[in-house]
Structures are given as structure tokens and as C-alpha cells.
Subunit: 206 residues, 2 copies
DNA sequence: TAGATTGTTAATCGATTAACAATC
DNA sequence: TAGATTGTTAATCGATTAACAATC
């Protein structure tokens, strides 16, 4: 289900396709074309067909794509047809925002545990979760066999916590801390830094 | 200061260079080379030299780059040598997290105003700000001549608020709402959607 | 059938890298 | 000077697009 030769840049577009198709389905549409989808995403129809063809033949000539079918196929390709348990480290403001974010569950993720190292936060409720002591992080993650983590701790703690996450068996980290973290081969990391986006845009402002 | 022909992909890397160089400066380093910087960023030294050469000659053969000088040059290129006032719309959990985020001011941005449409929030404090009524958004933004906005409102309100921001003269929007927004030519938009990153990573998980 | 759209090949375009003269 | 590193050119690599046969 994961052809090894697929360019990463193609894989990175699939979640966008999935999101837009889901929106179409919510609008009540049943069929779409590469042209229509491309227009909505600001991408060429050829690119969409080429990307999808890396994984199989999902459309019908003359007709286009069945939206619900394509959604399911993309979910399988991206491995989000089931739900991943996710752990969050950091129960500060950003942690609160993540914990209360309602948009995970229907897109393949379920926030399962929240950790912090602050005694004032441990044992208290954040969203519908009780914040756990980071000292039991390795044990708890292993016990539940969790593979995906979100990191929302102060910059200075980012690497230390990362090392613990790796020890616990985490294989994918979404890092909100504004520093790059070192991980072993085979562990995926993606970063979210709003300032990088802002600076990218100000370049173009007069 | 903005050569028109510079590829957007190059512009997008400059903020990363700037962030890493700032980190080096904080570590007390004064000189670096394209090789060292590339190693820290996981990018080839050639690419860094090529990218920088689009804007001028900032290094010295045999020596490398003066870190503080290069930081200043990049700040000028990205137009963050001064500070941009930024407006935030949405005082929910994510809005709180953004309002309390300390990382803007030394990187070219200053959160200036926060708006919401919820009477329970208007007039109350979020971080060090008083939440204002979104009904005065256009007037307030115009009065301060603000160009940059962050959007952290529910999906259903995203387009309506966007239209107001455009009306108020906003030219760059960082959109946290998980939907694409329509803007006129010349207005820049960037998106932050954590689920897109998570789904990109799960593709590679076993 | 006629019209539409896919999947795919070949051509184009653009980005990255290798190599090196210039020079600090 | 000798060693190091830049800025840049030319070569390579990869991604996007144009075009079209296949076919629903």
C-alpha cells in the first residue's frame, strides 16, 4: 500500500486532497473531476491525476472520481482509515489549545494522553484530560503502544523530552517548539513555526 | 531590496536561515560557513550559497559569513528589520495560545489587537490584551494601518472575517482555520493545519 | 454515439548539485 | 603563501505540464 518510490512531495499533497474531498462530501457532492478538485486547490488537474496514479487507478474515464471512494482510498494510503492514539507533551497555553481542538478525531487521530512536568498542572484537568506527570511518560506510552506525539514544551526542554519519546517508542513527532530536534533514523519529525510563515509573507509586502 | 525573479521556494528558506543564524549568535558564534549552516539545517552548502547569491554577496572567500551581518541582511530582505503590528481574530483556546506566545517580538512581529464576536469575551483580558468587538475591526485596523493578520476563528466564520480583513487593508493572513479562504490578487495567505502534518507522517509509519 | 475525462508518455520547465576560478 | 570558502557556471536531477490514446 506504500510504493517505495513515491516522491515525498507527492505524499505531502495527499492530505490536502483528502481534506478538500471531505469538504466536497460534506457539501453533498458525490462525483468530482481532477479539473474541479484542482481548481479548488489551486493545482493543475494533470498534477492531481499524476499524483493519484502513483497509487492506483481510482477514476473512470469520462466520469471522474467517486468522492467517497477516493476519500477511502486516500485514507488507506495515508494510513488514517483507523485512528492513531496521540500523546501531547506540554500543558501550557498551546497544549490547552491542542487539547481542546475538535478537529482531530474525524481525521485519523485521537488525543490519548497529556503530560507536563509542572506540579501545578499535574493532576489537573485540561479539556477532558487529566495532566499526567512526565516522569511516567515512557511507561505510559509503552503500555498503550502509542507511536505519534505532539510536542508543545518550552524550547529548552524540547530535546530532553524528545529523547524520552524516542525511548518510549514514538515514531512521529509534530514539533511546535521553535527549535529543530535530533531523532534517530526512521523517526519522522515535522515542525510548526508560525513566525516562519509570517516572515515568508512579509517579504512580499510593500 | 526584492529582486522580482527570486523563486518563492528560495524566499521560503530564508526564514529558516535567519532562525538558525540567530540561534548561532545566541550561542556566541560570530562566523559561520555555508557548510556549517547547511549541516545544522540538513541542507547542502551549495544551496545556501546559491540562495543567498540571489540577493547579494554577503560572505568572504576563505572565511565565510559574519553571523550578525548576515542576520541583519536577511532581516532587511524579509522586511523584518522593523516590527510589524499584527492583529489576531479569535480569542478561543488557540487565540489564547497565540496571545501568550512570547516568540513574536524579537522576530519582527508585535501582536497589537485581538478581536472576537463573543460578548462573553469582548472586554475581557487575554494575555495582556483586552478583547475588542469584531464589529469595530475595520475601523481599528485602518486607524493603525495594520497589514498582517492571524486568523483563529471557527471554520464557518473564516471567510466572513477574511472579507472584513481585506476591507480593512490587511495584505497578509496566517490562517489557522482548517479551510482555504478566498482573497484578492496581491494578498498573501499561508495556512497552518496540524492534521496535514500528522497525515503526512503516518504515511511512513509501519 | 458523442462528449468527457482518465492514466500515461514525452517534452518542458525549474531546482539542485557538482565543479571550479576567484580571492580572502 | 597555503588553505579555505565564496559566488557562479554548467551539468544533473526531478517535478510539472502538455498532449493524447484509451475508454467510460
Amino acid at each position: 500500500m506504500s510504493p517505495p518510490g513515491v516522491p515525498d512531495i507527492v505524499v505531502g499533497r495527499l492530505p490536502m486532497y483528502l481534506r478538500e474531498l471531505t469538504k466536497m462530501a460534506e457539501e453533498g457532492k458525490e462525483i468530482t473531476s481532477s479539473q474541479e478538485l484542482g481548481k479548488r486547490l489551486g493545482i493543475s488537474s494533470t498534477q492531481i491525476r499524476k499524483d493519484l496514479s502513483q497509487f492506483g487507478e481510482f477514476g473512470k474515464q469520462g466520469t471522474g472520481y467517486n468522492i467517497n471512494f477516493l476519500i477511502i482510498q486516500l485514507q488507506i494510503i495515508l494510513k488514517v482509515e483507523d485512528v492513531w492514539d496521540v500523546v501531547l507533551v506540554g500543558a501550557g497555553d498551546l497544549g490547552h489549545a491542542i487539547a481542546n481542538y475538535g478537529g482531530f478525531s474525524d481525521r485519523g487521530f485521537h488525543l490519548s494522553l497529556i503530560f507536563d512536568n509542572d506540579p501545578k498542572k499535574i493532576g489537573h484537568q485540561v479539556g477532558s484530560y487529566i495532566v499526567k506527570d512526565v516522569s511516567s511518560l515512557v511507561k505510559d506510552i509503552r503500555a498503550r503502544n502509542i507511536r505519534v506525539a505532539m510536542l508543545a514544551v518550552p524550547t529548552v526542554d524540547a530535546q530532553t523530552v524528545t529523547d524520552r519519546l524516542i525511548e518510549a517508542g514514538i515514531h512521529a513527532i509534530l514539533c511546535y517548539s521553535q527549535t529543530s530536534i535530533r531523532v534517530p533514523e526512521g523517526v519522522k519529525v515535522e515542525y510548526i513555526d508560525p513566525v516562519l510563515h509570517l516572515q515568508h509573507m512579509t517579504y512580499y509586502l510593500p
